[in-house]
């Protein structure tokens, strides 16, 4: 059985780079007196891997939460293609095509790996109570299709042998990959990953790198928060740097890593 294609976009990178997919304009968010995000604007183009870096507490996760509807924003606008995302509920954001993973893994602990991925299909399936109770033909078809896709995703993530194990009993690296599989099950156009390599060993990181490149080749656009500078610089087409809720730089890995502000705030001497 072939590996399922993820994402709905053509994989031709050349013209893809010209099409903006995610447009964040002037987004601000405060928690009480703390300005966690100040007037953030950035644009992620179709087909690219866009990096988001910055020191601890810079507001990277807060930006993810603001994009995915978990936090309401104070000001600004978020668009995915032509769809407004700000003011939407998390499930509507996912429905629109923006899926995410969490920095502190949030799997459904008491569900199996397969069930976790099946939950990821929720937004792309429709059967309700009557269909489920009567096992109507449409429901059966939908369920069989979901299971087939879920198994294929688990295979792709190297988790096939864990399909029937509870998520909470999987090794750490597998849990991270399972979260990616769950997000991919919703067939997103943009996948936002919050420190996917955290806690992974070098071999797992190398595998993750390959996986992300494959997803990009399939036409998926990626938004990546990552502290592993080598990984980010090697993978990303462009990146933005946050510090104290402010975007201090944006550009190609080369430009950004030579930016004095970025070196002072985040990279330090190691990048030189």
């Amino acid at each position: 059985m072939s590996v399922p294609k993820v994402g709905n976009l053509p994989s031709s990178k050349l013209d893809a780079e010209l099409t903006p997919l995610l447009t964040v304009s002037g987004v601000s968010k405060a928690f009480g007196g703390l300005q966690a995000l100040s007037d953030i604007s950035l644009q992620v183009n179709s087909g690219e891997i866009f990096g988001l870096i910055g020191p601890n507490g810079a507001g990277k996760t807060t930006l993810f939460n603001a994009l995915t509807g978990l936090y309401s924003i104070d000001r600004g606008e978020v668009r995915l293609g032509s769809t407004r995302l700000d003011g939407r509920k998390p499930h509507q954001v996912l429905q629109a095509g923006l899926a995410r993973t969490f920095q502190n893994i949030r799997l459904f602990a008491e569900m199996t790996a397969l069930e976790n991925v099946l939950v990821g299909r929720h937004a792309r399936t429709a059967s309700g109570v009557v269909g489920a109770v009567l096992r109507l033909p449409a429901t059966r078809r939908e369920e069989a299709d979901s299971r087939e896709r879920a198994h294929a995703l688990l295979r792709r993530m190297g988790l096939a042998q864990h399909a029937n194990r509870l998520a909470k009993n999987l090794p750490y690296g597998d849990q991270r990959r399972l979260e990616i599989a769950r997000a991919l099950a919703s067939e997103p156009t943009l996948l936002a990953l919050d420190e996917p390599a955290a806690g992974m060993n070098p071999a797992e990181r190398a595998a993750l790198r390959e996986l992300l490149l494959q997803l990009q080749a399939d036409g998926l656009t990626l938004l990546l928060i990552e502290h592993d500078v080598k990984l980010v610089m090697g993978l990303c087409t462009r990146l933005a740097v946050l510090d104290y809720g402010v975007k201090i730089a944006e550009g190609t890995p080369d430009t950004v890593s030579r930016d004095p502000k970025v070196i002072a705030a985040y990279l330090g001497d190691e990048a030189l």
Partner: protein
């Protein structure tokens, strides 16, 4: 769900089903012969509690919403039946019209009472739903003036039994050369409905809807970020649970022939919750087991007086006190030694296997 190993060979499976069906069909006769008529009545009651527990299991066991006011829906179903089939308003509609109506109305109330609690979790949800349950009971207690809707604490009497034409479940009938009493026939009716509720629960559990409920229970934020409309699915859980509660309420009214607010107090909600927790939350066989045991055990413990007399020649402790004491000890013991319930779900068992392997 998928983690449950399936029996693949058809013969043993059908054999098991066949024996189970035969056992369930003969049960009231065996109980009647062995323990007496009053125990057949208890069997009927146990079936009602299975229905109630399976309904609450959807709310608490699957969706993880701690609802302590569940008995309100039971009361609603019972009063709807009483209003439409008793001399109270002089209405005598047929049961097949009232039961679905009561269940649907209870389901609607599930949504109405669920809506304001959507943002609440855990303890807070428990307290608010507990309040709702009490409000409904107090309403029933006081709605005898200015218009006498509920007849207040006296309750409503002479409620029609389930009846089709001349065939009433309150009288004995001769069928196939045997005499079936009312409690026997009621048993078969309740069994049929319980089987339907079990079937619906099983199908829902292993579906897109059931998985979404469990996902909400496990992590509501992750569930929302995974595309689940948590508001709608929580309301659906409240509605489904309340529907089963309303159905059980209607059956209860027809079975007893009399209802009053006293039957629907907080203790009742807590008892149904205990059945779920004790049997195995979120696991259908566990919930059924919990409901049957917790209905029959307190009755069996009524005999502690007789036991004391045979053992010691006299009664040292009042059976009513001893009964509650033993009941409490049993609950504590189960929670200590089997915290996941008497019959925990396959997930829990698998967890155990995973820990070993």
């Amino acid at each position: 769900m998928s983690s449950v190993p399936k029996l693949n060979k058809p013969q043993p499976r059908w054999l098991v089903f066949g024996l189970l069906a035969l056992g369930l069909a003969l049960l009231p006769f065996l109980v009647d012969a062995g323990l007496g008529r009053s125990w057949v009545r208890l069997l009927d009651l146990a079936l009602l509690y299975v229905m109630l527990a399976l309904g609450l299991n959807i709310v608490v066991g699957y969706a993880g919403l701690l609802d302590l006011g569940y008995v309100a829906f039971y009361a609603l179903g019972a009063y709807v039946y009483a209003w439409l089939a008793s001399p109270h308003f002089g209405l005598h509609l047929p049961f097949w019209a009232i039961l679905p109506l009561g269940a649907a109305l209870a389901g609607l109330f599930g949504v109405l009472l669920g809506t304001p609690t959507l943002r609440l979790r855990g303890d807070y949800l428990a307290i608010v739903t507990l309040g709702f349950g009490e409000i409904i009971r107090i309403f029933m207690n006081n709605l005898n003036a200015p218009v006498n809707l509920t007849n207040g604490p006296q309750g409503i009497n002479l409620i029609d039994p389930v009846r089709l034409g001349e065939f009433s479940l309150s009288q004995p009938h001769a069928l196939f050369g045997y005499t079936f009493t009312g409690v026997h026939l009621t048993y078969y009716l309740f069994l049929l409905l319980v089987l339907a509720v079990i079937f619906i629960s099983m199908r829902l559990e292993d579906s897109r809807i059931g998985r979404a409920w469990v996902a909400i229970r496990e992590d509501e934020i992750a569930a929302a970020a995974t595309g689940i409309n948590t508001r709608n699915l929580k309301l659906l859980a409240f509605a489904m649970g309340a529907t089963f509660g309303g159905l059980a309420g209607g059956l209860f009214a027809s079975f007893q022939g009399f209802i009053s607010p006293e039957s629907f107090n907080l203790m009742e909600s807590i008892m149904i919750l205990c059945m779920i927790v004790l049997g195995g939350m979120g696991h259908i066989p566990g919930v059924i087991f919990g409901a049957v045991v917790l209905t029959l055990l307190p009755e069996a413990l009524r005999y502690t007086g007789d036991w004391q007399r045979t053992l010691f020649g006299q009664i040292y402790i009042d059976p009513a006190d001893l009964r509650m004491l033993l009941f409490g000890v049993a609950l504590v013991a189960v929670m200590l030694y089997r915290p996941a319930g008497m019959i925990p779900s396959a997930r829990r068992r698998q967890e155990f296997a995973d820990a070993k392997g």
